[in-house]
Amino acid sequence: MKKITRIISAVLCVALVASLAALPVSALSVAPYNSYDYDPYGGATASPLGYTPLKRVNYNDMKVVGGVSSSGVENAFNRPEDMFRYNDKFFIADTGNNRIVELDSELNFVRDYTVFASADGSTSYDLLSPRDVFVKDDEMYVVCNRTIADENGVNFKDGYIVVADMDGTYKRYYGKPEADAIDFRDYEPLTVVVDNSGYLYIRALGVLEGLIILDKHGEFVQYYGANKVVMSFALAIQVMWKKVFGRKSTATTIKAVPTEMSNIFIDPEGFIYTTTSTNTVAADLRLRKLNPVGDNVLAADANAIVSTVYGDRSTMAGTALEDVYVDENEMIAVVDTARSRIFIYDNRSVQLTVFGVGSEQLGGTSYPTAITKYNDYYYVLDQVDGSITIYKPTDYMKKLLIADSYYREGEYVKGEQYWREVLKYNSNFSIAYAAIGKSLLEKEKYQECLAYLKYGQDRTSYSAALAEYRKEYVRDNFYWFVPLIVACGVGLLSGISLAQSALGIKKKKQSIKFK
């Protein structure tokens, strides 16, 4: 008997060890970060990883030719500020080396541009500390900056934008815009985007009136889409003190001016997205989508109970949004340099996933400064060493992207099966429940959809479903419904009357006596 128990226990031990060895490797070995999304009450809930690092490509892997890094390494980047993808070409603004580097789709070095010269050689412009590169319709726009001295020997910034075609032949030049409305000494353009009608939207340092719009010929059109000054209690107090102490104090107090934007992006439809990095702007205005008039049209999360926040919800760490990329499915990727993370939002401002970490490991970046997307992969440029980290979507994210694109098009029924698969990965995801609920509502399964809409916190649809379900319920149960109501009413009234008589407190009718 003892022997048998020993054998059994030995077998059990072996089985236990075997099962431990067969456990799946922990998520940390896949990526050095965790992902989360927010429930409608603003609580962070853990979610499966949306994007995992594929590889990091540095200047050695790219086989970069020319250029010296800030630490003196040959054939490298020096503090690159921006990255832009045009079809299957990547352009990196290698700011410290005064050049634009072109990479192919495999991120191999193709060529670099240090000067844009016209075909006959009559005009040429050096690309001095290029801050941004933008390509549209086979025309390359490069934002350059130089410091020159005026007649008194005082230095001032004089930026310019040079346009060339794809082989580097000079086409156009946009210097400092000249108009009555513009009266600034230093002109330091940082970012440029070009819309479908050829207007240039220029973000320049210290221009608080908004983006500068130039037409194709370089004529100033107007300012556009400045961040609005939000009235706060502190600001009101400040204004009050200014009123009390008069004009003298205005020189010493801080002026309430719009916050500068940290980056701009134009999507294929022509909407301009702006990011603001400082925390002085309201958290729901850190990311904006501007319509042609300059109003913010980015929808806030309709089902959320707390107000929408782009970036980090906790105020401890701070958020510094530095770049934004919006793909053709209106998936918004925002780079937060404060903690080196990338937030993915859909067009309803629902945070789908977050990835990236501030570390040297694969998957981490030290100072992410630009993001772009190519073939479903996100490419993040690290300013410190000019390396590009490629993130690939997980199976969960692929399902989620399909499901969300169906939702965006209003094809709730078609998307239902994908949302159900998303739920298998992430059963805490409230928008999946809301989407399934909407699909069931469209299929007229009212009783079933109520539970889903409740989990999904979609109150408007819940109300609509409830109206239908109520109608259905009353119609089905009409034969006993009306008699029940009548019986309840009669019972209540007669009960009160009986109780009054039984307890002897029934008011006796008094006849009025006239004397």
Partner: protein
């Protein structure tokens, strides 16, 4: 038709023949139990009788207050999903208590303090009982409104607002009547004293907060001295 009326008469006689008063436990004063409901329909008469015939009960008024408190919690938890963003985890019993039962406690104290100075004739017991009985409209309507909110849509939310504001106005009116009758005030003086009472409630709250912070600071002071002494002895 005749058979129905005969049947109804028979049934009524049957119920009336039972001696209900004897069925109730002896210590149950049915007249006192029925009084809060009488306040709802005949407030002036009922308040007068509370004052002069002592038909109110302190125990019953505490039960009413607790019922109001519990119905508020039920309201918080079970209000129709389409209207409420309440969450079980966010429910604070203390704040629910402060916003329901505590108000009446503070109101009674402040009202007694003010009206004693303003030649009011009410005793504290009467003030307490009538203030508690004045919350009857809220006690009676809160749960039905919550149940109703489960079946109404967002477009029909006006009905809920209407019903709950009627109940609230009714309760305020009862409070006004009780204040007028208990202290034998004119209407004008009654309203004035009620406004003063509201200010008194705020002063009471301020005193409570001051008291709490003072006690906390004193405790902190004693603890610091104790800690310093321990450091001194340990080193």
């Amino acid at each position: 038709m005749a058979t129905y009326s005969a049947l109804a008469k028979y049934g009524k006689n049957m119920i009336m023949n039972i001696e209900w008063k004897k069925l109730l436990p002896k210590y149950w004063d049915w007249k006192k139990i029925i009084w809060p409901f009488r306040v709802l329909v005949h407030p002036i008469q009922a308040f007068n009788q509370i004052k002069y015939e002592k038909t109110g009960s302190v125990g019953l008024s505490i039960i009413i207050l607790l019922l109001w408190f519990f119905s508020n919690i039920y309201d918080y938890l079970e209000y129709g999903f389409q209207f409420s963003t309440n969450k079980v985890e966010l429910l604070s019993i203390l704040s629910e208590f402060m916003s329901s039962a505590m108000i009446i406690v503070l109101w009674s104290i402040a009202n007694w303090a003010i009206c004693t100075l303003m030649d009011g004739e009410g005793w504290f017991k009467d003030i307490w009982i009538t203030s508690c009985y004045s919350t009857m409209p809220l006690v009676v309507t809160t749960i039905p409104i919550t149940i109703l909110s489960k079946v109404l849509t967002i477009q029909e939310s006006t009905w809920l607002t209407l019903l709950s504001s009627i109940a609230f106005a009714w309760a305020i009116l009862l409070l006004l009547m009780s204040n007028t009758i208990i202290h034998q005030y004119t209407l004008k003086k009654s309203i004035f004293s009620m406004l003063l009472t509201v200010i008194g409630v705020f002063i009471l709250l301020l005193l409570v907060v001051l008291m709490v912070s003072l006690v906390a600071q004193f405790a902190d002071f004693v603890m610091t001295i104790g800690r310093e002494l321990m450091f001194r002895f340990n080193s």
